[in-house]
Amino acid sequence: MAKRVVVDPVTRIEGHLRLEVTVDEKQNKVVDAISSATMWRGIEVILKNRDPRDAWAFAQRICGVCTTIHALASVRAVEDALDIQIPKNSNYIRNIMLATLYVHDHLVHFYHLHALDWVSPVEALKADPVKTAELQKAVIQKYGKIVELAKDYTGLKAYARKFPKATPAYFKAVQDKIKQIVESGQLGIFAPADWWGHPDYKKLPPEVHLMAIAHYLEMLDTQRELVIPHVVFGGKNPHPHYLVGGMNCSISMDDGNAPVNAARLGLVQTAVEIALDAINYFYILDLLAIADIYLNKYNWFYGGGLAKERVLGFGDFPDEPYKDFSKTGDYWNKILYHSNGVVHNFKEGWQKAKYEEFNKDSLEHVAEYVQHSFYHYTVGDNKPLHPWEGQTIPAPEDVPPTPWKFLDPNHKYSYSKTPVYKGLTHEVGPLARYIVTYVGVKQGHIKPTWVDEMVVKQIDMVSEMLGIPAEKWMLSTVGRTVARGLEAQLGANLNSYFLKKLYDNIKSGDTQVANNTKFDPSTWGPGKKRGVGMTEAPRGALSHWVVINGITIENYQAIVPTTWNVAPRIKNEYGEQRAAYEAAMLDTEVKVVKEPLEILRTIHSFDPCLACATHIYNSDGEEVTSFNVNSACAV
C-alpha cells in the first residue's frame, strides 16, 4: 500500500519551491511530478519608474547566493539600451568577479548544499581514519591527472596553499568532533538523527563519507576567502557594487586611498590562488571519487531528463569589451566561452546531436508563458510574450487557499513563468553549457578558444577516467553535478587569466575603469530604448530585458536560470512540454517513498535558487496526467 508523502521545505537551496511527485511504489518509479515556486516578491514591478543606473542594486537582490550575477546582467542590459561600451579594465574586473562567483558558488553548492545527499556524518563515524588517509592518497593518485588542466596565468603562485591532509590524525580529529556532536544529541544542522536511515547512504564506503565530511568542514571556512575579489572590487560580499558604464573601483598606482592599487591587487591574487587549490585538490577529486562509485558500481544514471532532449546557453566571458547585444550582436564575437547555442538530442552522442548557435538573431525567439503560473497576461494567458513586451501581473485569486495538501496541475500552480526558446522549454546550467560547447567544437561549428578547448579536454578526460561515453555519464544527476565541478575548474583558470590581463593592461598605462560619458541621464536623449543583458549565471542562462523611456525604466523583465528549469508545464503548437525539474524527477527512481533522497539529490543537482517543497504521493486515487517529455522534440 502506497503512502502520500510531502517534503516541505526541501532545504539546502535558495528561496521557496514546492515539488509534488506521484510514485508507483511497486516499481519505485516517478509517474508524475509538479514543480512549483511558492514565493513572489515583485522585483520586476518594483523596478518600474526607477533610475536605470540603480537597477543593478534592485536586480542583484533577486539572489544573494549567486550574488553579483543579476547586477552584471542588469548593467549589461542598461548599457545595451544606452549604447555604452565599458573600458577594458572593467571588462576584465567583471570577468574576474564572474569567475570568482563560479568558483565560490559551485564549491559551496557541492560541499554545503549537495554533499549531504551523498554522504552522511553518521556513516563517517564507521570509518577507519588510517584507511581514510590511504583513500585520500589513492584519490589524488587516481584522479590527479585532471589537476594538470589547472593553470596559473599570472605565474605568481609559488606552491599549493591548500592541500588535502592525508593523515590519520586529521581524520581522527574530524571523526571525534562528529562523534561528540552526534552523542550530545544536539545535531544542529545534521538533525534529526533518523534522517540518515536511507539505504543509499550505504552505497559509499565509510571512508569516503569521512573524507567528504572533513572537506565539508574545511571548505566551510575556506569559501569566504574565495570571494575576496568581490570585496576588493565591489566593496562587499554578498551584493558587491556595480556601475553602469564600468566599475566604481578606480585604479591608481599613485594613491594609497585608491580602491585598486598594487596592495589591493595582492588581495585578489591570493584569493585567486586559493581558489585554484580548493577547486583542484579538494572539489574535483572528491567529486570524481563519488561519481565513479555511483556510476560504475551502482549504475546510477538517473536524472538526465530534459538535458537528453535539449539544452540552451547564451555564452560568456568577453575577452575584450564588446559594443552591444541587440544591435550588432558584437558580444558574441568577443566571448571566450562558446556555450551560446542550443543542442537537441545529445543522448545519441555528439555526432547525432543537433546544434544551433545562439546570437543576436535568436533574441526574438525568447518568450514566457503564464498558462500554469500565478499571473495573468492582458492578451490572455495562453499567448507567450516576448520579455520586452513582458508583463508581471499577479493572479492572487488563482493561488489555492492554505493549508495546501496537493496542488492541481490542471490549474495554475507556480509563481514561476515558463520561458521558451522557439516555443520549447530547455534545460540551462553548467551541464547545458558543457553540452553546447562540446558538441559545437566536436561538430566544428565553433572555432575553439582556450576555454572551449579546456571544456572538451575535461569532458574527454573524465569520460576516459570513468570508462563511460560522454553522453551517458553527462546526461544524469551525477553528470550535472560533475559538469558544475569541471566548470569550477574552468572558472579558477578564467580568474587567473583575466587577472593577468588586468595586470598587463594597467602596466601599459591604462587605468580607466568607467566610461562616464553617459553618467548624466540628460545625455541619453528622449524616447524609448530597449536593451538586453545576457550572462551565464552559475545556475544557467540569464537574461535581463529593459525598456527605458526617457530617463526611467518603463519595463523590466528578468528570465533567470531557475525559471527555465523550475517552470510549470505548458501546452502549445509543439505539444505538451515540461521544464527541466519536472522532467528530471520523472527520470529518477524513488526507493523509499517517505524518504525521497533521490528526488532531493536530483533537484539539488540543479542548484535551485528557491526554497522548496516536494510532495510525493502515489497514483492511488489521484488522476495522473501523463506527459511525454520527448513529445515536444519533433520540431
Binding site: 571556512d221 569566504r224 556601475l243
Partner: protein, 365 residues
C-alpha cells in the same frame, strides 16, 4: 543536554590557552573593553549553548551567505561549537517531510524536528528571521510547508526567548516593500509583540550578525538604540568613521565615477553616498576582516542598513540638505564643491543628524 561553551571546547580538544584567546578575541569583536575579558570567560564557562531557529521569508538568502562569511569566529566554530542551529532552510541536511494520514498532514523530517525543538526548548531558543513578511493575498505570496510564512512568524515567536531580525528585509520590510510594495510586505516587528533585536543591512556585515548572536548567548540582550538595533554596531553613521571623511571636511569630492578625484579616493558624497545618514559599522569594522567596504572600493554607499533606503533613490543623486563643509581649506581650493553649498555654517554633524530624524518621522508606518 546543554553543554557550556568551555565544556564543548574541551571536548573538541581545544586548550585552555586557545579558549582564553578566543574569549579575548570575541570581547574585542563585541566592542567591549578589555576589562570585560574575565566576564566573557565566566560567561563562556557557565552559559549553556542556545538553540537557534532561523526562518526564511521573502528574501534572497544573502544574509545567511553573509553569516557563513564570518571569520571571527569562523562559520564552522559557530555552527558546531557556539550555537546549535536546530532549524534553518539553507544548511541543514534534512528536508521537511509531511505525509497524509487519516486525511491530515503529519509533520516529519525537518518540520517534525522543528515542532520537537520548540516543545523541548520552550522559552529558550533564539528565533532569527531572515526576509520580509508578505501580508497581501492572505500571506500567500510566500508559502512554506503549504502555509503562509506569516503564520510561522507569529506562532514561533510565542515561545522564543529572544527575537532577532537579520537583514533589512526582516528589519524594515526590505526590497519587496519598496514602492509599490506589490506583496504588501512588512517587517517582522509589525507582527510580533515582543522585544526584537534588529540587525539591518543588505546584507549585514558577517561579524555584525555573529557578534550580536554571541552577545545574546553570553550576556543576554545587547544594549539597543531606540529602533532596536545593537548600539555597538549601529551607534555611528558610516560618515563618522569613514576613512574618506577628511576629504569631505576638506571639500574634496568625486564629481563623476572614475574621475581623477575617484582615483585619489576622495569623498563620494556628491555622487550620492548615503554615508552621512546611514548607521552601520562599514566604516569601522569594514567587510572581511577590514579589507574593504563599498566606499573604499569607490562605490557610493546606498544606505542599505537604513529604513526604506530602496525608496530614497536615485542612488547617484546627492542627498539634499546636508551642508557641505568649508572648514579645512580656503575658498579657492573648495572650488566647485563650495559653489554647491547652499545652507549656512552650522555644524555638519548636527545638521545631518537633524535631517535624519526628520526623515525617520516621515518613514514611520
Amino acid at each position: 543536554m546543554g553543554k557550556t561553551y568551555w565544556e564543548a571546547f574541551k571536548e573538541a580538544g581545544i586548550s585552555r590557552r586557545e579558549f582564553l584567546k578566543f574569549a579575548t578575541y570575541i570581547t574585542g569583536l563585541m566592542g567591549l573593553a578589555p576589562s570585560m575579558v574575565p566576564k566573557v570567560v565566566e560567561a563562556l564557562e557557565t552559559k549553556e549553548r542556545i538553540p537557534v531557529i532561523w526562518l526564511h521569508g521573502l528574501e534572497c538568502t544573502g544574509c545567511t551567505e553573509s553569516f557563513i562569511r564570518s571569520n571571527a569566529p569562523y562559520a564552522s566554530d559557530l555552527l558546531l561549537n557556539v550555537i546549535t542551529l536546530e532549524y534553518d532552510e539553507t544548511l541543514p541536511a534534512a528536508a521537511g517531510i509531511l505525509y497524509e494520514e487519516n486525511g491530515k498532514m503529519v509533520r516529519s523530517g525537518l518540520v517534525g524536528h522543528l515542532d520537537k525543538v520548540v516543545e523541548e526548548y520552550k522559552g529558550k531558543y533564539i528565533l532569527v528571521y531572515e526576509g520580509g513578511v508578505p501580508l497581501g493575498n492572505d500571506g500567500r505570496y510566500c508559502i512554506v510547508a503549504g502555509r503562509p510564512y506569516k503564520e510561522d512568524v507569529i506562532e514561533l515567536a510565542k515561545h522564543a526567548a529572544v527575537l532577532m531580525s537579520v537583514g533589512t528585509c526582516a528589519s524594515w520590510g526590505g526590497i519587496q516593500a519598496a514602492r509599490p510594495n506589490p506583496t504588501h510586505s512588512v517587517p517582522v516587528s509589525d507582527l510580533v509583540n515582543k522585544p526584537l533585536i534588529k540587525v539591518p543591512g543588505c546584507p549585514p556585515i558577517p561579524e555584525v550578525i555573529t557578534g550580536t548572536i554571541l552577545h545574546l548567548a553570553l550576556f543576554g540582550m545587547p544594549p539597543l538604540d531606540d529602533q532596536g538595533r545593537p548600539k555597538q554596531f549601529f551607534g555611528n553613521r558610516i560618515h563618522d568613521t569613514c576613512y574618506r571623511r577628511p576629504f569631505f571636511n576638506a571639500g574634496q569630492f568625486v564629481e563623476k565615477p572614475d574621475d581623477d578625484a575617484a582615483k585619489k579616493g576622495w569623498c563620494l558624497y556628491k555622487i550620492g553616498c548615503r554615508g552621512p545618514t546611514t548607521y552601520a559599522s562599514c566604516g569601522n569594522l569594514r567587510w572581511f576582516g577590514g579589507i574593504s567596504y563599498p566606499i573604499q572600493s569607490g562605490a557610493p554607499c546606498i544606505g542599505c542598513a537604513d529604513k526604506n533606503f530602496w525608496d530614497k533613490g536615485p542612488f547617484f543623486q546627492r542627498e539634499k540638505g546636508i551642508v557641505l563643509p568649508n572648514v579645512e581649506v580656503d575658498a579657492d581650493k573648495v572650488g566647485v564643491a563650495a559653489a554647491a553649498v547652499t545652507a549656512g555654517a552650522l555644524a555638519v554633524h548636527a545638521i545631518a543628524a537633524g535631517i535624519r530624524h526628520a526623515g525617520e518621522k516621515d518613514d514611520e508606518h
